[in-house]
Symmetry: C2
Subunit: 620 residues, 2 copies
């Protein structure tokens, strides 16, 4: 097993990743969660993905020389879709090169496209000056000091604290409003301390980001395994627990709330703020996850006709939900579409803005529950498929989340090369590593289109010996040695078993058959697609050709595929930053038609076809 890796640091974010030698910068950036503009599909023609090499080895490609002037090349400008890492690099990404939804978030602090309009507003007041009429009631005096339109109500909990808070602070302090409700009066000028947390509530993975509501900038990110996985690794097993055990719901709720509180704690500490400075949490997850987190029995999602309890957004107090932020803080739970298509998909629609486009767009969010949205003309429809947690590294013998030690990229030539997150010995295989590995095994003929892992004896004679040695037998079936004892972190070999490949085929087939049915319902085939948006929190990135090679996506030119990262988290973040985005979310949830695939007679037939890997090589 050989490796040659370079460290790439991106500016101005400071994010850094390790990539294989000769990786193109576009993929390195994606690995760092920075998605660049590639309207030409990464073919070096549009020049939109320009970046600047600040330091390190990075030869300009032919396309770079065509697009940039000699001076620009000297100044370090490159096309990220063409230039390759030739050593450790420091790369500057201009804001305009970022994918639009990322750009907006990054620049809105300086008055960009998303006007900062969070539900939480803080105003420093000195009532003796700002509202000198001392005969006004406490509440009316505050109303007179802040813009009256900002202020429509007050909770009884805040009301009970207000008289004392005002007088202790001599009528000077910071008024906190959330969605026009007075939720606090704080000593001194605390307007600079206002934070929100956006959470992507995945079946397998939880990701949270803390946002400074004054600047709109992310301050820290945290991800961890959803602890509910110990009660079953997919939505169905969680639903079963809620239906069969009367304490099931409260148990599942307790662990998820505990995990969210751990994320809150971690983010607050990384951001070096107090939890009291966090005033809002926005949650986006599928219908089951959202209902469980809110303590709403999701059992009806486990029986025909699979209905969620609610579809419009829920707004509740953090204390009602048990979340440990400011005692008077709020929680916004994303609106839902129907069936299993929940707030995460709505958040993805908010992040991608695909419904506003005139193009025909397919949106695929890959997670334990896969969600698919198709926009074609006036038709906007969404479906959910049970993909299982394989793409998130679970249910795979050496599967793991995309953290340090995870193999996230694999190339097979004379032998296997792989890229390990954090540049350590490999611990396991994350989702993108799994796709990479299986796609490479398909490309090199080590796995058949049926999914069967070949035996060493079946391979052509010219197969390199290093590769042949990796094919072994385990429990009467083929298996592939990813790392031997001496190479792995644990001292145990890392294997891809036949069962692992089957598991992945199921995930793959579920998503692909969902895509096929939506295309059929819209009366189009995949050639009509202008773009395919690939979202998901599994690793950061899968290679486009690999997604096509394993048949996860229909055969489209790879240039039409755009990675948009964790769209659910990105949408949740937008909702924290602007109440207009919450309205947009509500509109999206209302306008998207939910397609219940369980009612589709074709689903089984499509699924049987889709679990077989394609024979053809992807084109494009």
């Amino acid at each position: 097993m050989k490796r040659q890796e370079y460290k790439v640091v991106f500016e101005p974010s400071g994010r850094q990743v390790y990539v294989l030698a000769e990786s193109i910068l576009l993929e390195a950036a994606a690995q760092a969660g920075l998605i660049l503009q590639t309207p030409c599909g990464g073919t070096g023609k549009c020049g939109k993905c320009r970046v600047r090499v600040v330091s390190g080895q990075c030869k300009p490609s032919a396309a770079c020389l065509e697009v940039f002037s000699r001076q620009e090349i000297e100044n370090g400008f490159r096309l990220a879709c063409q230039a390759k890492a030739g050593g450790d690099l420091r790369i500057e990404i201009p804001v305009e090169s970022l994918f639009e939804s990322q750009q907006q978030i990054l620049v809105q602090g300086e008055g960009g496209k998303l006007p900062l309009q969070p539900a939480v507003g803080k105003y420093y007041v000195d009532l003796a000056k700002d509202a000198p009429d001392g005969a006004l009631s406490d509440v009316e005096r505050i109303r007179a000091a802040v813009r009256p339109a900002e202020f429509s109500s007050i909770s009884i909990a805040t009301m009970r604290l207000l008289p004392d808070a005002l007088r202790k602070n001599h009528f000077k302090g910071t008024v906190v409003l959330a969605d026009h409700e007075l939720i606090g009066f704080e000593p001194g000028d605390s307007t600079g301390r206002s934070f929100g947390i956006a959470i992507d509530l995945g079946t397998t993975t939880l990701v949270g980001t803390i946002i400074n509501l004054n600047t709109g900038m992310d301050v820290a990110v945290d991800a961890r395994v959803n602890p509910q996985t110990s009660y079953g690794d997919d939505v169905i097993s969680r639903l079963r627990l809620c239906r069969e055990d009367e304490k099931g719901l409260s148990r599942l709720q307790r662990v998820i709330i505990g995990a969210i509180n751990d994320i809150i704690d971690k983010l607050a500490s990384e951001a070096r703020i107090r939890r009291e400075d966090i005033y809002e949490v926005v949650l986006a997850g599928n219908t089951t996850m959202q209902q469980i987190a809110c303590g709403i029995d999701p059992s009806a999602l486990g029986e025909i006709p699979f209905v969620p309890a609610f579809t419009r957004a829920l707004e509740l107090s953090a204390s009602e939900m048990g979340l440990e932020i400011n005692a008077h803080g709020r929680v916004y739970v994303f609106p839902q579409i129907g069936g299993f298509v929940g707030g995460d998909t709505v958040a993805g629609l908010v992040a991608s803005r695909m419904a506003l486009s005139d193009e025909t767009i397919l949106f695929v969010d890959i997670g334990t529950n896969g969600e698919i949205v198709l926009k074609h003309g006036a038709c906007l429809m969404a479906a959910s498929v049970a993909a299982g947690p394989a793409f998130e590294g679970a249910r795979i013998s050496c599967g793991m989340r995309a953290t340090a030690g995870a193999i996230e990229k694999v190339i097979i030539n004379d032998d296997l090369s792989c890229n390990v997150i954090g540049n350590t010995r490999p611990v396991g295989l994350c989702g993108s590593g799994l796709i990479d590995l299986v796609a490479e095994l398909r490309r090199t003929g080590l796995v058949e289109s049926s999914g069967r892992i070949c035996a060493a004896s079946e391979l052509p004679a010219d197969t390199p010996a290093a590769i042949k040695r990796r094919l072994i037998e385990k429990e009467g079936q083929g298996a592939f040695v990813i790392a031997g004892k001496s190479e792995s972190a644990s001292g145990q070999p890392l294997l891809l078993t036949q069962k692992d490949v089957r598991e992945m085929q199921l995930a793959n087939g579920a998503i692909r058959s969902g895509i096929n049915i939506l295309l059929k319902m819209a009366g189009i085939n995949c050639t009509r697609l202008d773009s395919v948006l690939l979202a998901g929190g599994f690793g950061n990135f899968i290679r486009r050709n690999h997604a096509l090679r394993i048949g996860l996506l229909p055969p489209v030119p790879s240039g039409k595929i755009r990675f948009i990262g964790n769209a659910s988290l990105m949408g949740a973040r937008r909702a924290i930053l602007s109440v207009a985005e919450k309205e947009f979310a509500e509109k999206m949830a209302h306008e998207v038609r939910h397609i219940d695939l369980s009612l589709s007679p074709e689903f089984q037939a499509e699924f049987s076809d889709a679990i077989v890997f394609p024979e053809e090589e992807p084109h494009g």
Copy 2:
């Protein structure tokens, strides 16, 4: 001590009272809480107070013979302001003879002037029929079944119960909405069971009434002493406790909430309903009482500039307040005006509708805190005075609430005659009895204008011996024996002491000086008053001439004085019956100008004058 009493039963309400022989029917009705129309001031001219004698002795007066035809007289019609009780009576009161605010409440069930529009609405639904789309979420299915405009939100508490409630009841049941929020889904058709409770939250007395929200009719009434009186009998003592003892507020709150819960319990049991069938409680009290009940520290009301915490209405959940009605029920706390002028005054304005009149009107609500409102042209202002609890029977040596055993009416001729509530032996003196007694003592010269009780030796020689015997000395001052040992219920004499008279003078003087200052501020004298509305829960009724004789009211023709009963309770009741009345309350609270008498330099001077009883006999 002699008595001659008759029992008078009023139809259709069934209310009954005991009155002295020759009492006029108008006063008997008022004693039963039934306030009749008297635009002519009870002079027998307008004919608006017509009632019908169903059975019993009641001679027509000369005015009756003029107003009614012979046939009508034979059918029992009489003018209530003229006809006198000549024996036990059964009297029918036509709806149109009732004072308008009472009339509206009594008739609105049949489509009268106050359209029934309570915040609470119940709708029986069979979702299989009414919202057949089984793919809708639980909440949206209910929204589709009820009028969508009725339904804007759902609390998380209800949301958590909804999925199970719907399925257990096979999607048939009763949807409960409160102020457009979904608060319940009940088994079967419970639309017939919908109740609200209006509470007058007095410093000394609590009165509650339970109302059937389907008919708008009162079902039962309960009154009791505010248990906070054990911590001090006026607002100032309660404020002091909150300021000086850190547990003061929570202690006061606990006892008042306990008492309200006792009232709720009693009313539910009298109405033969379950507490779960009660969905709303409306509270009207002065600013201190309302804040304490809500758990909001009222200490700022105890220091300059005497500000309440809020003025707009508070809407909260019954559980947040600790009230034991339906677990998802609501509480509406009346908007407040300012200083000590609180929700009870606003409720009185809602009940009396005085602000809508073109007349110049003085509204006086007599309680431990007395409130005075003056409407003159565009000027509408309110003030509060600390009258003390004398008029509610407290702080008087033999004082008591107007319940069984209370002397509520007194006449002095050759000896003292008195009317005891419940027709039993006397236990004590209620507010109206105190006023009656002192007024009679003034009329007969047994008390001087300074308030001093004369000694028997000072009286004219022709004073009846029975009266002379009642004047005794106690602790070096005069006292008056109301009932001797052998006459009272306890076997102890009932006395009116000099201290009692002083206490009443203070109450009297406080209210009168408040009235005088408002009149001065409006630049008018009392001759400009078109009406004086006298509200209060002390007994049911005081005689107009007596209110004038003791100087409680400025010298106006007694015909201009109207009794409107417990206006605070009446306003609270209207708010339960119609959300439009709540809006009207908010408007009233906003429009009335609060006059802080503590800032008036004239108050002390006015007060010194007003504690002296008038020398002149009232005219009119």
